[in-house]
């Protein structure tokens, strides 16, 4: 779960004003630039503060500059093409997004900013919404941790390390289960199904390649 705060020139609904936020839960809490005093920000629990700099890039930069030492939250600024030149890039932002960005790009940027310790580690595989941490045996879909069994974990980790490549049932069986296992290759199908059940709306990342095996879409 990533807790969001929204800072903008007025109190328009963030979900309407910036479509990649649509449907996001918990919904970001909106505040105006003038409301956002250091005191208030210090008392708010947030992981990321989204700053709408599209209409007033100057006020946005100033707000980040003023508030950045008051909170542990990271600042992500929303900008548009025409204000890139005038924005104050030294204000202390963690990242920025263009207002034309897709929901997926936005979610990834947000997750990277909110979980900086997971960045660029060899043990972390990130594919779209899914983050696999080999060191912690942990798989997340967006912010949610999945409760996987060991074989389910190994299976998704093996596939995700080879995005777009077809892995046959036999390969998966010998790589994930080892040769001394006496369940047949259908065991792979059984586990893929269990994994998909737990992946919920992200189940499609594991594609079935008919008569061959499985592939991580990527």
């Amino acid at each position: 779960m990533i807790r969001l705060l929204w800072l903008g020139p007025d109190l328009t609904d963030p979900e309407e004003s910036f479509t990649p936020l649509a449907g996001r839960r918990p919904a970001p809490e909106p505040l105006t630039f003038s409301e956002a005093t250091p005191d208030l920000i210090a008392r708010r629990l947030a992981d990321v503060i989204l700053v709408d700099g599209r209409a007033q890039p100057g006020s946005a930069g100033a707000a980040v500059h003023k508030l950045r030492n008051e909170t542990e939250a990271q600042f992500v600024v929303i900008l548009s093409e025409d204000v890139l030149a005038e924005f104050d890039w030294t204000c202390g932002l963690a990242d920025f997004v263009m207002d034309s960005c897709t929901k997926q790009e936005f979610d990834i940027r947000l997750s990277r900013v909110a979980n900086p310790h997971e960045q660029d580690s060899a043990d972390v595989i990130r594919r779209g919404e899914i983050t696999i941490n080999r060191e912690r045996f942990e798989v997340r879909v967006g912010p949610d941790v999945l409760d996987l069994t060991f074989k389910e974990f190994e299976l998704i980790a093996y596939l995700a390390q080879r995005p777009g490549r077809v892995c046959s049932r036999n390969t998966l069986l010998s790589e994930v289960w080892g040769y001394d296992f006496f369940g047949g290759t259908r065991t792979v199908d059984v586990h893929v199904r269990r994994l998909r059940a737990k992946l919920g709306h992200s189940a499609h990342v594991i594609e079935t390649v008919r008569n061959v095996g499985y592939r991580f879409s990527g």
Partner: protein, 442 residues
């Protein structure tokens, strides 16, 4: 260095702040038992096992040898879906050992594992997909229905659809994928079909499934039961079990040239199942009440025969759909959901394997007229019946080499003894039926 799956469990318990881990196993009758351990005991449990007192568990031990060891199977580690009542807990299935480290002969999971190993020595993997039916009642005191819906009915007649939906969610969170969910034929009767899996995984899933169905019902203030025939005069609850054997990627039951698309292996397995059905019936249908379900007229099988279309046959061979070789399977329709799934899958597999080993010939497919035949005609056509009651089932089972061998001496002896005593209790009981019928007139 610890095994990676052990490391996985230890790490997950630490990272996710799990407060206690429940080790699950069943007694010989299939009742779920648990030993709870704390994270501090976990590593020892995984490497050496945890001691517990087995003397009060059905079929486990005599008093003088009550010390048992539960050794969790790390591959079954599963965090319980979040709910206030089971916050921060996880479960693993455990295998039971004696203090000297040898596997305990009365552990049903071991019985199934041994039979699976025999299949694998013959080159086969055994897959099963059971359909467990059950009833929702207002409470466990009586049989007042929750709804008066019927087959595939939808709301508002089917008040239980929310219960089913919640149950499916819970099952999927436990990694148990669901195939179909629907209202069954009888009022308040429901069915959730599980996607096939290898027999051991599936037996574990059946145990989990029964708990989940009952827990969700309890959360909503109603009662769910797997009793085979809770209400006279309407359908009982069965556990139709779809079965197939695979040799690597190939369905060993499939033959494109055969009329029923059954291979030689498939036919011999089917013949084995039919041949030994009477002997294994005490295991697949283990209660006095089980035999109230196995009567004519309620879609439950009575006569020992197979068919493709007749849904009253003991074993059905579902129609082949072109291109679906892998779905070729047998559907045993006699087991009920109150069985011990480890033992039931074990004896059905053993019966089928015996058919393959001995190359049993397959009797002819049954027509639609079995129920209209007289007893004499059935006798002439060599169509036998399942045992009439638990008493007959125990008698046939007691003489069965196949069941003795499959369950192993300890489990077999205990099981027969336990079932005989159940029958003796029942025999001495004066039932409401007798009061109702006889008291006014005699």
């Amino acid at each position: 260095m610890l095994n990676p799956d052990v490391q996985f469990v230890l790490k997950t318990v630490e990272d996710r702040d799990i407060k206690f881990v429940r080790l699950w196993f069943t007694d010989i009758l299939g009742f779920l038992k648990a030993v709870d351990i704390t994270p501090a005991q976990l590593e020892e449990a995984l490497t050496e096992g945890i001691g517990f007192d087995g003397s009060s568990i059905e079929g486990f031990a005599r008093i003088e040898e009550s010390d048992m060891i539960a050794k969790p199977d790390p591959s079954t580690f599963q965090i319980m879906p979040s709910h206030p009542a089971r916050a921060d807990s996880a479960r693993m299935f455990a295998d039971i050992h004696l203090p000297d480290g040898t596997p305990f002969a009365g552990d049903p999971r071991r019985v199934l594992k041994q039979t699976i190993r025999r299949a694998s020595e013959m080159g086969y993997t055994f897959y099963v997909g059971p359909e467990l039916e059950y009833f929702y009642f207002k409470n466990s005191e009586g049989t007042s229905f929750l709804d008066h819906g019927t087959y595939f009915d939808l709301t508002p007649l089917d008040e239980a659809s929310d219960l089913r939906k919640r149950t499916v969610e819970y099952l999927e969170e436990m990694g148990i994928p669901v195939e179909y969910v629907h209202h069954e034929v009888a009022p308040s009767q429901h069915e959730i079909d599980l996607r096939y899996a290898d027999a051991l995984t599936m037996a574990d899933s059946v145990i989990t499934y029964r708990l989940v169905v009952k827990e969700v019902a309890q959360e909503q203030g109603v009662y769910a039961t797997f009793m085979p025939k809770p209400v006279a005069g309407i359908n009982g609850s069965g556990m139709h079990t779809h079965m197939s054997l695979f040799e690597d990627d190939r369905n060993a039951f499939f033959d494109s040239d055969d009329d029923a698309h059954l291979s030689k292996v498939g036919k011999a397995f089917l013949a084995g199942l039919l041949h030994h059905a009477r002997e294994i019936c005490a295991v697949t249908n283990q209660w006095v009440n089980s035999y109230k379900r196995l009567v004519p007229g309620f879609e439950a099988p009575v006569y020992i025969c197979w068919a493709r279309r007749n849904r009253s046959a003991l074993v059905r061979v579902p129609m082949y759909k072109p291109g679906k070789e892998s779905a070729t399977r047998l559907e045993a329709r006699f087991p009920d959901p109150a069985c011990n799934p480890y033992l039931a899958f074990g004896v059905m597999l053993a019966a089928g394997l015996k058919g393959i080993q001995e190359n049993y010939p397959l009797p002819e497919e049954a027509g639609n007229n079995i129920y209209e035949m007289s007893a004499q005609e059935r006798h002439e056509a060599s169509i036998d019946s399942l045992p009439e009651d638990l008493h007959e089932a125990i008698a046939v089972c007691e003489g069965s080499e196949l069941v003795r061998e499959t369950l192993g001496e300890h489990t077999f002896e205990w099981f027969i003894r336990n079932k005989k005593s159940e029958w003796d209790d029942h025999k001495a009981y004066v039932t409401p039926y007798e009061i109702e019928r006889y008291l006014p007139i005699l």
